[in-house]
Amino acid sequence: MKLLVFAHPLEAIAFLKNEKCEALNFLFQGIYQFPSGYILITGEGPQNASETLAGFLGAYHHKIDEIINFGVCGLLNSKYSNLLHQMVEIRTSYLCLKDHLEFKSYTLVHGKNDLPLLDCITHSDRVHNTELRPIADLLDRELWSLASVAKRFKKPIRSIKTVSDIINHSSNDICEVVKENAQQYSEKHYFWFNSLKSETHTEQSSLLPCQSYFHFSFSQKKLYQKLIRSSQIKKIPVSKIEEIQSCLKNKNFENKKRRTAVLIEELEKVIHPFKFKLEQDLAIYKDHFNGLKGNVTFDKNLEQEKIRLNIELENSDDFDTLIHKLSTFPQKKWSDFFKGNINV
């Protein structure tokens, strides 16, 4: 469901009239429910915006897929004066608290529509000068707070604004102008909202193979998805991946887990042949220590030549074996391996 956020009731008027809205019984006023979502009236300014949105999402976050903010903004850059009374979509939101520029910015989601895409700076006060023009072309009072709360709740947010005025030193009576035009702006916004085609977000196919043949642990699943992403970047045909999967389905394995491990190994071979070659070489060095009780590990990032032996020595035979293994270890070859002497 969508959550539509407005600063003032007048800005929401077309929505409240045209949708079957019912006031929601909540801790504070200004929340309405309609068949495909909710409307939240925050009140003016960044603090009201963050308090009310956070309060609402705290209770209803599980019902909300997307937040859309509708409102008005002032124009800082007269270069865009042709946009007066026009709708724009916001690209990035910045904040100025009193005289302090907040470093953090939020890049909003935006759709494939024809609205001009501009940046907006939220100010804690009503301002009448264009000093912030190097940062953004538009000025509002709430958006940054909404975006920061949306981010905290991991909700996508977009913002549609109408440019209500061009900021200059004489724009004191702006509230009157906004009030006068509020209904008209609201209708435009409602019209836009109605024509909003739900953009289909096609999930990238993860190609996770049939669970009746494979069983993925959490880390295997992550690894598998990483491999598939790499295969897509490398443009390895999907049919190749599917071929590997179906080939393994027809083979006998002791259990699904084993089949999954082999699948990952086979995919590595095809998607990262170089890495696979390195792993094969490492396996040979590891095999050199076969016969000892314990395990042998290498630097996990393959940056250092060091080898870690965790060996149990129970008797003199074990000592002899270890001494033999160490004295016959191909140290020079091992060192050359790290210098890139690899037979690829």
């Binding site: 520029l101 940062i135 890495k275 940056e303 890139g340």
Partner: protein, 332 residues
């Protein structure tokens, strides 16, 4: 090219600044006190360089010339870089600037004389060789037709016999250099990769053939040339691609004018790598495994990158490049 142009009040009477404004045909720039009040003050998304790139014309304060990192140099001389600009008009997916500044906006510093004075002061020991690199935070030549700094640099380095200047670029913007008589101590260096790699990892940069033509022109005029085969990115057929590149390069370059050819494998700082993943999730160097390496940078595993370096070195030597001119870059 620029959405808005801002100029520091103190630069208004600077002739170079005026020249830049004229060339950009910007009659009414926005006047600000200090670029630092805005540039880098807020996080401006990197990809806004595509459609919302601003320019700041400013004076560089503080240290203008800085000691270069160890692995920067090709020989044992002292290496410095000087700061003539921040950011770049090109968009290389691997560019470390995307994790370095908090804004893609371009800052051009116009107080060259201060930089020149610093450089002269540093070159006090006549028995020592001092290297200066332009372009640590920007491409050295991409905007040189607007900034007009090339004549100034030739004038500065002409008499500085114990100093060398490297102008490192991915551009083919060599007009200003062609107007100068070659100087032994000013080296124009080009970063090159096979065309298929350029196509997938760089945007707005000139093609390989355009860069090779620029190299040929400079070489025909007797200008010393440096080459950087950097960053090398592993692909299944990278060997064949570098063989072709080496051959083409030799066809465009008088090898007597070649000062060095350095080779380096793709690497990222942690912050850049994060930005790369965010900005270019489909970039093909993200298809290979990379790990944190000896200096904290993200690289291919050491055996792999050493193998890549040795292969490219071999290719260059076999193609006929003198072994003593081939350097391995940014490795321990």
């Amino acid at each position: 090219m620029f959405n808005q142009v801002f100029i520091e009040k103190s630069c208004l009477s600077n002739l170079r600044a005026q020249n830049i404004l004229n060339k950009l045909n910007k009659k009414d720039p926005i006047i600000i006190d200090d670029h630092e009040s805005f540039f880098n003050k807020v996080k401006k998304p990197y990809l806004q360089k595509r459609d919302n790139l601003n320019l700041f014309i400013a004076e560089k304060k503080g240290r203008l010339v800085k000691e270069a990192p160890d692995a920067y140099g090709l020989d044992n001389g002292k290496h410095y870089y000087f700061i003539h600009a921040y950011n770049c008009i090109y968009e290389c997916h691997y560019c470390y600037l995307q994790g370095y500044f908090h804004s893609p906006d371009i800052v051009l510093f116009v107080n060259y004389e201060d930089i020149g004075m610093n450089i002269k002061e540093l070159c006090h020991n006549k028995n020592e060789t001092y290297w200066f690199h332009a372009g640590e935070f920007s491409d050295s030549l991409a905007l040189s037709h607007i900034t007009d700094e090339i004549p100034y640099l030739y004038e500065l380095f002409g008499p500085l016999k114990n100093a060398k200047l490297e102008l490192r670029t991915k551009s083919a913007n060599i007009k200003a250099i062609l107007k100068q008589s070659p100087l032994e101590n000013i080296i124009t260096s080009f970063s090159l990769s096979p065309q298929s790699h350029l196509k997938q990892t760089e945007e707005k940069t000139p093609s390989l053939s355009t860069r090779l033509k620029a190299i040929k022109k400079l070489s025909d005029h007797g200008h010393p040339i440096g080459i950087h085969l950097d960053p090398i990115i592993f692909t299944e057929n990278f060997k064949q691609e570098y063989e072709i590149l080496a051959k083409e390069l030799l066809e465009h370059l008088d090898s007597k004018l070649l000062q060095y050819i350095s080779i380096g494998v793709v690497r990222f700082s942690k912050e850049s790598f994060y930005q790369v993943k965010k900005n270019y999730p489909q970039s093909f160097f993200l298809a290979e495994n990379m790990n944190t390496s000896f200096d904290g940078k993200i690289r291919y595993p050491r055996p792999m990158r050493m193998w890549i370096l040795s292969q490219v070195k071999q290719i260059l030597i076999q193609a006929g490049f003198p072994v003593e001119k081939v350097y391995l870059c940014m490795e321990d």
